[in-house]
């Protein structure tokens, strides 16, 4: 729920409740006051009737005015004096209406009478209704203004927050354009922006220094590795070296080779992350595939793989080195994880390239297959080949899909 909605809901509910209760109380007070006023008038009439009886010792004339009627009834026992509210007939409007009566006993010439003075309540009721209508209108107006004001005011007040939010959403580590926040008249938002600016600067700095570190570390590592490599090259020239020692040297060569490749892969990843492959040109994927296939021909041959190709014209805009690496890694992957006498199927369409290979085992987990250093147990690689493929695809926003069907592992890269 939005903050604004929640706030509006709370304030408006409270306002409505208070106004409702206040209105009810107001109504009853007003009604009480008005009836009291009528009763007062009735009481004046009563005094007047007593006075007239005292003066003339006879009943005054009954009257039947619209708003006031006076009647007398002969009774044997005097009735108790009381006020009552009652529906009375209004001959003028020819309808029943609320009235107020004062019933009191009078005594004229030893005869008991009940005197009934009736006053119409309709005037008072009209007044009450009018007051109520006005009050209601005022309340509704007040609510509407409150609601609109809240909305507009809050919307305006939250504007800097939303601009901050969208700026944060656009924050991208690999594209470190500094975030510019709008200056807000609200202190809280300025504090938020300041905190964010500081945080993002720190993140950018950390990321930058991490990248530089990885880059430098990889480069610095090359020279010691070169020394080891050179020393091994010298060591194997030694005539006195035994066969057993040679096996150790062989293992060291492999380790150094792996280390070198690992380093090269990490450097490549850093370079892609650094966006150092900016230049783009139209690449004919078919030609790249053919060139890489001929390069890998012996490797394919050594595993007796059957290669089926279905090449349609296929071009893509990208850096030529990355295109080579992308294709090469996918092909090497399809060869390395293939079985002896297995097969490879390479299909290109104008907007995609799909490389499928037979292999041991069942389908792989497509959620982790592109992770760095993720590799099958039997793999002799480093687990960076597909990570680099993914990195290149991400750079150009090409979707890449892995699927496993009919014993074939397939990787498909889509491009526009």
């Amino acid at each position: 729920m939005k903050l604004q909605t929640k706030y509006n809901r709370a304030t408006i509910t409270a306002t409505i409740a208070v106004l409702l209760i206040a209105s009810i109380i107001y109504y009853f007070f007003l009604r009480y006051a008005l009836i009291n006023q009528i009763d007062e008038a009735l009481r004046v009439e009563e005094v007047e009737i007593y006075h007239l009886i005292q003066l003339h010792d006879t009943l005054p004339a009954e009257s039947h005015f619209r708003d006031q009627r006076i009647e007398f009834k002969e009774v044997s026992i005097p009735e108790k004096r009381r006020f009552i509210s009652k529906e009375v007939f209004n001959p003028l409007d020819n309808k029943m209406e609320n009235g107020r009566q004062l019933i009191f006993p009078v005594h004229v010439k030893r005869q008991h009478y009940t005197s009934i003075v009736t006053k119409s309540q309709s005037e008072a009721e009209h007044l009450l209704l009018l007051i109520l209508v006005i009050t209601t209108v005022v309340i509704l107006l007040l609510l509407a203004i409150l609601f609109i004001l809240n909305r507009l005011l809050l919307k305006k007040m939250w504007k800097p927050f939303h601009s901050t939010l969208s700026a944060m959403n656009e924050f991208n580590l690999s594209n470190p354009t500094p975030i510019v926040f709008e200056k807000s008249p609200i202190d809280e938002f300025n504090a938020l922006n300041a905190a964010w600016t500081q945080t993002t600067q720190k993140i950018n700095q950390d990321y930058e220094s991490l990248k530089t570190f990885a880059d430098n570390a990889s480069h610095e590592m090359q020279t010691p590795v070169a020394v080891i490599n050179a020393k091994l090259d010298l060591l194997i020239q030694d005539h006195q070296i035994t066969e057993k020692s040679m096996h150790h040297v062989q293992a060291m060569y492999h380790a150094v080779d792996k280390l070198t490749k690992l380093n090269q892969s990490l450097l490549l990843i850093t370079k892609i992350e650094h966006n150092q492959f900016k230049e783009k040109r139209t690449i004919n994927i078919r030609a790249v595939l053919k060139e890489r296939l001929s390069h890998l021909e012996e490797l394919i041959h050594s595993k007796d793989l059957k290669v089926t190709t279905n090449f349609k014209e296929s071009t893509v805009m990208m850096h030529h080195v990355l295109a080579d690496i992308l294709v090469n890694n996918l092909l090497v992957n399809a060869i390395r994880h293939n079985i002896h006498n297995g097969h490879m199927i390479i299909v290109t369409s104008p907007h995609s390239v799909k490389i499928s290979n037979s292999g041991e085992g069942t389908g792989l987990d497509s959620t982790i297959i592109f992770n760095r250093f993720e590799k099958s147990n039997s793999s002799d690689g480093m687990g960076l080949g597909l990570a680099i493929v993914k990195q290149i695809c991400d750079l150009y926003q090409f979707p890449i899909q892995y699927s496993f069907q009919n014993g074939l592992h397939s990787f498909e890269v889509l491009y526009r």
């Binding site: 020393k231 090259d233 194997i236 020239q237 492999h254 070198t260 490797l299």
Partner: protein, 225 residues
């Protein structure tokens, strides 16, 4: 033939010197920018190995210096940086070759030999090893005056062996020489074996001596001793 090794990592330059010594090269070492400048100013070298990341100066400036003095020394850049851009910058500035660290000494030796060959006068492109003769321009191999039919890889392999004659060359070095960095030596082990087998067979059929010796399954050596 005189070689200057400009490299600040002592152990690396020492290894290079040790390896090259056996091949009739006279090696000098410069460990920093200043010494290197002094040396190239005073002497002529057939080949200069240049590490461009020196502690006290940009190695690329040495290239500029050579160019300014109209020197024709061959230059191989050896660098820890292996990007296309660094490569292109180095070659544009007049380097003859670019070798990324780490490299095999046999590879370095082959590159040096190639540069020295290229810088010699024409008609000197023949490499001779007993009855085997390789013309590096026409890429023809003759044994006892008969031309051998070799595949591209077999030719590369034979040239590599002869340039590094008498030295044990590891399978890793062979793999890197034939296919470059983008393949694993382990992946290529069988293929290397096949190429060696074929090359040996062809040499044998051409009635050449049996010079190609396997060394404990870890590498090969081309030698007549």
């Amino acid at each position: 033939m005189k070689i200057l090794v400009i490299e600040d990592e002592v152990e690396l330059s020492r290894s290079i010197v040790t390896y090259l010594k056996g091949e009739q090269y006279i090696c000098e070492v410069a460990e920093n920018f200043y010494t290197a400048l002094k040396k190239i100013d005073s002497f002529e070298y057939d080949c200069i190995l240049l590490d461009i990341t020196l502690p006290d100066g940009d190695g690329l400036k040495i290239l500029g210096e050579l160019k300014a003095d109209n020197k024709t020394d061959g230059v191989i850049i050896i660098s820890a940086r292996n990007s296309i851009n660094d490569r292109i910058t180095g070659l544009n500035l007049g380097a003859d070759d670019y070798l990324a660290k780490p490299f095999h000494l046999s590879e370095l030796s082959a590159r040096i030999a190639a540069i020295i060959r290229r810088r010699r006068f024409t008609g000197q492109n023949k490499i001779v090893f007993n009855e085997i003769s390789i013309d590096t321009v026409s890429r023809e191999v003759t044994v006892h005056e008969t031309i051998m039919e070799l595949t591209k890889k077999e030719y590369q392999l034979l040239l590599y062996f002869i340039v590094n004659k008498g030295k044990v060359i590891s399978k890793n070095a062979i793999s890197q020489h034939l296919w470059g960095d983008d393949m694993n030596a382990q992946d290529n082990a069988d293929i290397i074996y096949t190429h060696i087998k074929n090359l040996r067979k062809k040499l044998h059929e051409a009635r050449s001596g049996d010079y190609l010796k396997a060394v404990y399954g870890m590498g090969y050596k081309f030698t007549d001793s």
